[in-house]
Symmetry: C2
């Protein structure tokens, strides 16, 4: 039995359904909403509704956008011959922040993960194959996370794209910038030695 | 510069404005909202709006309610001669869960705290004095937290209510149920000795 008004209980329940938010935190957030001026609470509600209803997938690269095609796909100054394949829109943001890359993207929205029942058809691989098949792409850069699932997905995609004669590369693995060699893990050091380059 | 659609950035910003939610968590929550079916996202938005617009203060006890008077103040089976004074609606819920108390409540929505610029007029003390002044109340039970601010507020209210001839009590302080004496702090043990009762 609850001792709060039903509308408050309902809001607590909604907050508690968010990932990483427990019941006590949900209660704290719901009370915070009650303490807001009514206009601010309405703005919050509108922000949720608008984000969900206006944000869609770019029909070319599958990144999040509020129009049919995202700003990167529409930009004439980006090299359309190079496509960087990433797991999520957050990775696009990470690569863009580095200001090093001037090609296009393809967002998979996941990686192949049999443990989590995610197969090749559950992520946007077919859309990538279609892009490559329709021509005009010289290089695909795989930029998935360097874990088992990322590696598996990279290899799977690489094999799928080989018949189209496109060059498939992947981000270099090695010692991160600014790291102390002493604290770098063994796997990273092994990869850095394997991938050593002539100076 | 952001690399996400404006509506998504706006939602991240809203989540980040909540207490205890940092930027990374806000981003995670916003992405979760995007992953929901559109109906569920709309329900979430509605829950926020409805909670803020429908929940109000009971005009008698100042507890949260969705009508003019709360269920406890409306209930004929609750003893209206005893009023338990608490800091927040969460404390009403805590006391109700114990199923021991059958009187009414008064919610102060805060405690006097000069450090945080909260004076007697910033919390619902005047409403309590008005209730007592209008008669029919025999006992006021102070149930504020046993910290400096709670004690100060209890004493302040107790002095205000004395002229009305009402009995003012407070919750017993002592060893909590199920505690190991070994691990109970000194202040609590002192209070338990002070308040010892004949068996």
């Amino acid at each position: 039995m609850s001792f709060f008004p039903a509308a408050l209980d309902n809001l607590v329940e909604k907050f508690a359904s968010l990932p990483g938010i427990g019941f006590k935190s949900a209660q704290r957030l719901a009370f915070y909403i009650l303490s807001l001026p009514e206009g601010d609470a309405k703005d919050f509600a509108d922000a949720i509704y608008k984000a969900r209803s206006s944000v869609q997938f770019c029909k070319i690269c599958q990144n999040l956008t509020d129009s049919d095609e995202c700003a990167i796909c529409r930009s004439p100054s980006r090299d359309e011959k190079v496509v960087c394949v990433v797991q999520s829109p957050k990775d696009v943001a990470a690569i863009e922040r580095a200001r090093e890359y001037n090609g296009r993207y393809h967002v998979l929205h996941g990686v192949i993960s049999p443990m989590n029942h995610v197969g090749p058809d559950d992520i946007r691989i077919n859309e990538l194959v279609d892009r490559v098949a329709s021509g005009g792409i010289d290089e695909i850069i795989m930029a998935l996370n360097p874990d088992t699932e990322g590696e598996t997905t990279s290899k799977y995609i690489s094999r799928l794209l080989k018949p189209f004669g496109v060059k498939v590369t992947r981000l270099a693995h090695g010692i991160p910038a600014g790291a102390s060699l002493e604290f770098v893990d063994d796997a990273t050091i092994s990869q850095a030695i394997d991938g050593r380059q002539e100076m």
